[in-house]
């Protein structure tokens, strides 16, 4: 009769066994303590039962050693869980180098995925087996949360900023993809499938889609929006050169420094005055309303792809 009831989710990423081992450990520890207490409660309740209600118990007031013991032991046990769980967590948030990048936007009530090579899909996500994949996403309206149980990953999609999850699929197949943060009427309909494919099949699938790659689209936008006229690669433009800037530290006019990452680029396109690079004037107009979320992601992808220029950009003007 129990066959119909699944008790345990599939393990389909390198993170899944890590999470599951921790889960088993915590289950064992907590079950031990729970059963211990239940055992004593039952034994005492039966052994010392008094049907008359008129007797009195033994005059025991407490024991400092017992108190210390059952404070310190659980504390140490919980610290062990804490340490293990934190290690697993940092594996989850720290994506490895050289991931396959996929961009996504959540919007009531669908997920749209954009592959670098140009394919885009809705409520379906195709990924190759055995390769670390990083999905970077945001939301166009309310909070959402990208949740793939078989990979044991989840992160909220928050309007106005990027979140990401990463995973290395370890089994081909079809898995659930859920929105886990309540987002309104069709929240339970904001679901999809993740397809883990053999790498060659994935390549074939990619080829079948067509369309312009994100980098190409980003380049096109870079021209169309006129970014190119100020952000000259030799650093002589009215704006700083963007070549090789991705991932580097940039000094700001305010004296602070900032890491040039997805979020910073996005912010600089939409609210250029907010964090001005040192040495440049507040001349860039906002592109809010002129470029949508996917356009932004393409621009970021394009800027990422720019190699460092032969001549280092000089910021003295």
């Amino acid at each position: 009769m129990l066959e119909g009831i699944p008790l345990f989710p599939e393990q389909a990423s390198t993170l899944a066994p890590e999470v599951d081992n921790l889960y088993f450990f915590v289950t064992a520890v907590t079950a031990f303590f729970a059963l211990l207490v239940v055992f004593f409660v039952i034994v005492f309740a039966v052994k010392y039962r008094d049907r008359t209600g008129e007797k009195v118990g033994a005059p025991i007031t407490g024991s400092i050693w017992l108190e210390l013991g059952w404070s310190i032991v659980p504390f140490l046990v919980s610290m062990a869980i804490f340490a293990w769980a934190t290690i697993v967590f940092f594996h989850m948030v720290r994506a490895p180098d050289q991931t396959l990048e996929i961009y996504s936007t959540g919007k009531r009530w669908m997920w749209r995925f954009q592959h670098i090579d140009g394919q885009s899909e809705i409520n379906e996500l195709h990924v190759p087996l055995g390769r670390p994949v990083k999905v970077t996403f945001t939301s166009e309206d309310v909070l959402h949360s990208l949740f793939i149980p078989a990979f044991r990953v989840k992160a909220d999609a928050i309007p106005g900023r990027y979140s990401s999850v990463w995973f290395t699929p370890t089994r081909t197949g079809e898995y659930h993809l859920f929105c886990a943060e309540y987002c309104g009427t069709q929240h339970s309909g904001m679901i999809g499938r993740v397809f883990v494919m053999e790498p060659n099949e994935y390549q074939a699938w990619l080829g079948g889609g067509g369309g312009m790659s994100m980098t190409a689209r980003g380049e096109q936008l870079f021209q169309q929006l006129g970014c190119v006229s100020c952000h000259l690669t030799d650093g002589t433009g009215r704006g700083p050169s963007l070549a090789g800037k991705f991932g580097s530290q940039e000094a700001l006019a305010s004296g602070a420094t900032v890491v040039v990452d997805d979020t910073y680029i996005r912010e600089s396109i939409l609210t250029p005055q907010m964090k001005l690079v040192a040495g440049y004037g507040p001349v860039m107009p906002t592109f809010q309303g002129l470029v949508n979320e996917e356009g932004l992601m393409s621009l970021i992808e394009y800027i990422k792809s720019l190699p460092a220029a032969a001549q280092p950009a000089v910021a003295t003007r």
């Binding site: 305010s254 609210t271 005055q273 907010m274 507040p282």
Partner: protein, 237 residues
């Protein structure tokens, strides 16, 4: 742990038993002595002020975060505020705190007429504050600086200035609401003092109103630099 030690040094309540003779008219039946009643009332007021601190705390947390995030917008927004009006209001409110303290002192020493007089001065100062505040709001309204669909602002960080002004109106509005409540309280106190209800043995209501009034003053002491004095140096330089 709150006053665990104090409780031993100072046994709670008095042991005179129920229904001791010679009740003060203000003694409520569930208290043993006037002292116990007074202690309970002041403790209650202090705890209430703690809740007030946390109440403003939520707004101040939002203020703090966005000030860290958007220093430029904060500077722009703050320069929109009228430092003269804000400064005058600060002086007015601190002066009202002084007169309030003097009113409580008059009640403590049994000077009923002086109590009424100082309370009236305090109310007048409170009213002055509210009137000035009204003109500040009106000015903002005329400029369409009220956050919301009709908000208009010229400047590179208009959106974030809207957050600043939202918090400005949230904080000062809540403060003004407290002023109105305090004003009404003082009116009642004035009437009670006029009816000679207070005596050096019993002036608890005046004292509690005083605590409340001082708290409202303290809130403003923080709001003034937080809202009006952001980056004035830029204006000067």
């Amino acid at each position: 742990m709150p006053d665990g030690v104090a409780a031993h040094a100072d046994p709670p309540a008095s042991a005179t038993g129920f229904g001791g003779a010679g009740h003060h008219p203000a003694l409520q039946h569930h208290f043993q002595t006037l002292d116990q009643q007074h202690e309970a009332a002041t403790l209650g007021m202090w705890i209430f002020l703690v809740t007030e601190v946390m109440f403003f705390g939520g707004l101040l947390m939002a203020y703090l975060l966005y000030r860290v995030w958007y220093p430029e917008a904060w500077s722009e927004g703050s320069l929109e505020l009228d430092i003269i009006q804000g400064g005058v209001n600060t002086v007015v409110l601190i002066a009202s705190s002084l007169t309030m303290a003097l009113a409580v002192r008059a009640a403590q020493t049994g000077l009923q007429k002086a109590t009424v007089r100082w309370l009236l001065v305090t109310m007048a100062l409170g009213l002055t504050f509210l009137v000035i505040k009204f003109f500040e709001y009106k000015h903002k309204y005329d400029l369409n600086h009220i956050p919301g669909p009709d908000f208009e602002f010229e400047g590179p960080h208009a959106a974030q200035v809207q957050i600043f002004l939202s918090l400005y109106f949230g904080l000062t509005g809540l403060h003004a609401l407290h002023m109105v409540v305090g004003f009404s309280l003082l009116a009642v106190m004035c009437w009670m003092a006029h009816r000679r209800r207070f005596s050096p043995e019993w002036y608890t209501p005046v004292e509690l109103s005083g605590l409340y009034w001082h708290f409202v003053d303290i809130v403003w002491i923080f709001l003034f630099p937080l809202l009006y004095l952001v980056d004035r140096a830029r204006q000067a330089g």
